[in-house]
Amino acid sequence: MMERLRPYLMLSPALLIIILFFLGGLGVGLMRSLNYMPIIGLTEPNLDAYVGILTDRTFLRSLGLTLYIAIASTAISMTLAVASGLLLRRSFRGKQVMTFLFQLNLPIPHIVGAIGILFLFTQGGFLARAAHAIHLIEQPADFPELVFDRYAIGIIAEYVWKEIPFIGVVVLAILQAVGDEYEALAQTLGANRWQRFRHVLLPLILPGVLSVSVIVLAFTLGAYEIPFMLGRSFPQALPVLAVRSYTDPDLNQRPQAMAMAIVITVLSTLLILAYMELSRRIVRKE
């Protein structure tokens, strides 16, 4: 009896925290989003908050922007990380230095990256001044809009900068485990470079790359600080919009803020499920 209970008992501290803070918080959030708050006399749950946000142009534009940022950042980081991984796998002079540089920003926090982007890419930033100094542009303000811009270039650049080494570490680890025998074998069978990548290497690294990309996707969907620091006032990324509604002095905004948080949660869950299903199919097919 005791033996059977033992794993549960040993897991209980971690489980307690997950149940209490994560599921508990989620449950309370869900209730509030349904306009259910007995303390202030709201006892009839309804979907008003969801109807409200889903018919609101501001919310829909934020939703679109958030999806765009998350998917673009993940796709670009993934592609570049795989490419860099393949390059760094070969042996060449200075490989160790390059690998070190490649992974250098892993421990650097996102906020610091965002400040770096601000220093470099704003119209009064380092690059604008440099371009002005060498007479590429007439005045610093002519520098293209790369931060606070329509296409969220600054935000995506920050995510790509930070996530390439993150995915890259996984790619390098897999490549190391795979070794080069498979490729050598394929080469003796007459496969050219592209064929060797497409039919040998890619299927081997894809499951790992996809699962680490899911983490990146989920993170970029729900992250607050980078779009807050580098994004436009309108439309704002969903997490920024949700925080703004939540801190609004108008208490009637709270259910809508909670509904937004629930939508973000559902969205990331769905995307992760879809991603996993997709990767399973790809892997099976290969």
Binding site: T122, Q123, G124, P140, F148, F228, R232, S233, F234, R244
Partner: protein, 421 residues
């Protein structure tokens, strides 16, 4: 036995933690005043100021205040504390908080727990929504502001004295200082006019050099509130509640939205995006992207020049029709056990010397009318060297009130009608 004692003491500690106990630093209440008969809790308001002073002597007050500024902390904890001890035998125990809302919640919590007599907070540095919350819950002592002897230096007919964020003060918080918004600009490249209409034409002659923080940022909201009064031609009307003035607002506010949309193409980034707050706006000034900023901090500009952040040529201006202003106050919770000493300190910070020190030492602006002060203090005010960037005290334009309940309506209106257009 020792073992059981251990369990017991751990239990006690846990209970104390759960109860969110009184800070250890809070000294025990002293009752020196009781011997002399009159006591604020029993006899107020039938007490002379001398009787208040008598009760206050020997008391220690817990003064809860925002602790984010070294200059203010030193002013309260050292300068004022020293005076209080020398002059009135009162000790100030400063309690720093990150956000005054924490103190509000503390007093609310004590009231809910039925702690009606022996509260832990004696004085709060406060204004606007925190004051409104405590007053709505009926948790403030007063009226007491007209009893303070230094009230003679204050204009009791002013908006500052009577209203805070549109709400009647009713003598429940006493003035300490004021702050009126100023616009900062680089005089090396700009010479902006002070009339709002001309100012915006000037902004359009210098496109991309001006922007304002996006409401609901505090300063951004202050800026568009200033413009609301100008473009609607109404000041007092908007101090009411949305229920009463929504119809007039819907009718008159489009003039404001139109003006703000008209200047949009002339703003930084074509008005498509705005800085989140003053810090970000100043970052743009520092980078040379824009040439204007704005602030409620009177001494900020001078300090930033001294720190080398701003160019020497940075100056400040006010619109000739006035700028939004606010004041900051101190209030005494209903359950303070040291109301007499708290009142004495509320009076002390309004003294001519301390109003001068407020400006000289911490870069605030005074709550008193300078022409009512003793001549030597007036001379000292005139002799203060605040640097060329400080807006001259004798040229202040009308102090316009901050909105109360209408503020969220204005902020949401700006998003819908200006930002998202």
């Amino acid at each position: 036995m020792p073992r059981r004692f251990h369990c017991f003491s751990i239990l006690v500690v846990l209970l104390l933690l759960l109860a969110g106990c009184q800070p250890v630093s809070a000294p025990a209440p002293t009752n020196a005043g009781q011997a002399l008969g009159k006591h604020v809790d029993a006899d107020w308001p039938d007490m002379s100021w001398d009787e208040v002073l008598a009760e206050a002597s020997g008391q220690t007050i817990n003064w809860y205040h925002w602790g984010g500024s070294d200059q203010w902390n030193e002013f309260i904890g050292v300068t004022l504390n020293h005076q209080a001890q020398e002059l009135y035998n009162i000790t100030i125990n400063p309690v720093h908080v990150n956000d005054t809302a924490e103190v509000v919640n503390k007093v609310l919590g004590e009231a809910e727990a039925g702690r009606n007599a022996d509260g832990s907070v004696d004085l709060i540095w406060i204004n606007a929504e925190n004051f409104i919350t405590l007053q709505q819950a009926d948790l403030l002592f007063g009226p007491y502001t007209d009893v303070l002897p230094n009230v003679e230096y204050i204009d009791t007919s002013s908006g500052y004295y009577n209203y805070d964020a549109g709400r009647a003060i009713s003598g429940q918080e006493s003035l300490w200082g004021t702050s009126q918004m100023v616009i900062e600009y680089d005089s090396a490249v700009l010479n902006p006019p002070t009339n709002i209409y001309d100012f915006f034409r000037y902004v359009c002659d210098n496109p991309g050099k001006f922007t304002y923080p996006a409401p609901p940022d505090f300063t951004g909201t202050g800026f568009i509130t200033t413009l609301l009064y100008y473009y609607t031609g109404q000041t007092d009307l908007w101090l009411g509640s949305p229920a009463d003035v929504q119809a007039q607002f819907d009718e008159l506010a489009p003039a404001l939205w139109e003006a703000l949309n008209d200047i949009k193409p002339c703003l930084w980034r074509g008005g498509e995006t705005y800085p989140n707050d003053v810090t970000e706006l100043r970052e743009l000034v520092k980078n040379g992207e824009v040439a204007f900023a704005m602030t409620f901090g009177y001494g900020d500009t001078t300090n930033l020049i001294a720190d080398g952040v701003y160019p020497e040529t940075m100056r400040t201006m006010m619109f000739d029709t006035g700028m939004v202003a606010n004041a900051h106050y101190v209030a005494i919770p209903f359950n303070s056990p040291h109301k007499a000493a708290a009142m004495v300190i509320a009076n002390l910070i309004q003294s001519p010397e301390n109003q001068l020190a407020l400006m000289r030492d911490v870069g605030g602006t005074p709550a008193v009318v300078i022409s009512r002060l003793p001549q030597e203090i007036q001379d000292a005010f005139a002799a203060l060297d605040l640097g060329p960037a400080a807006y001259p005290l004798d040229q202040f334009t009308p102090a316009l009130p901050q909105l109360g309940d209408m503020q969220p309506v204005l902020e949401q209106g700006w998003r819908a009608n200006v930002l998202e257009k």
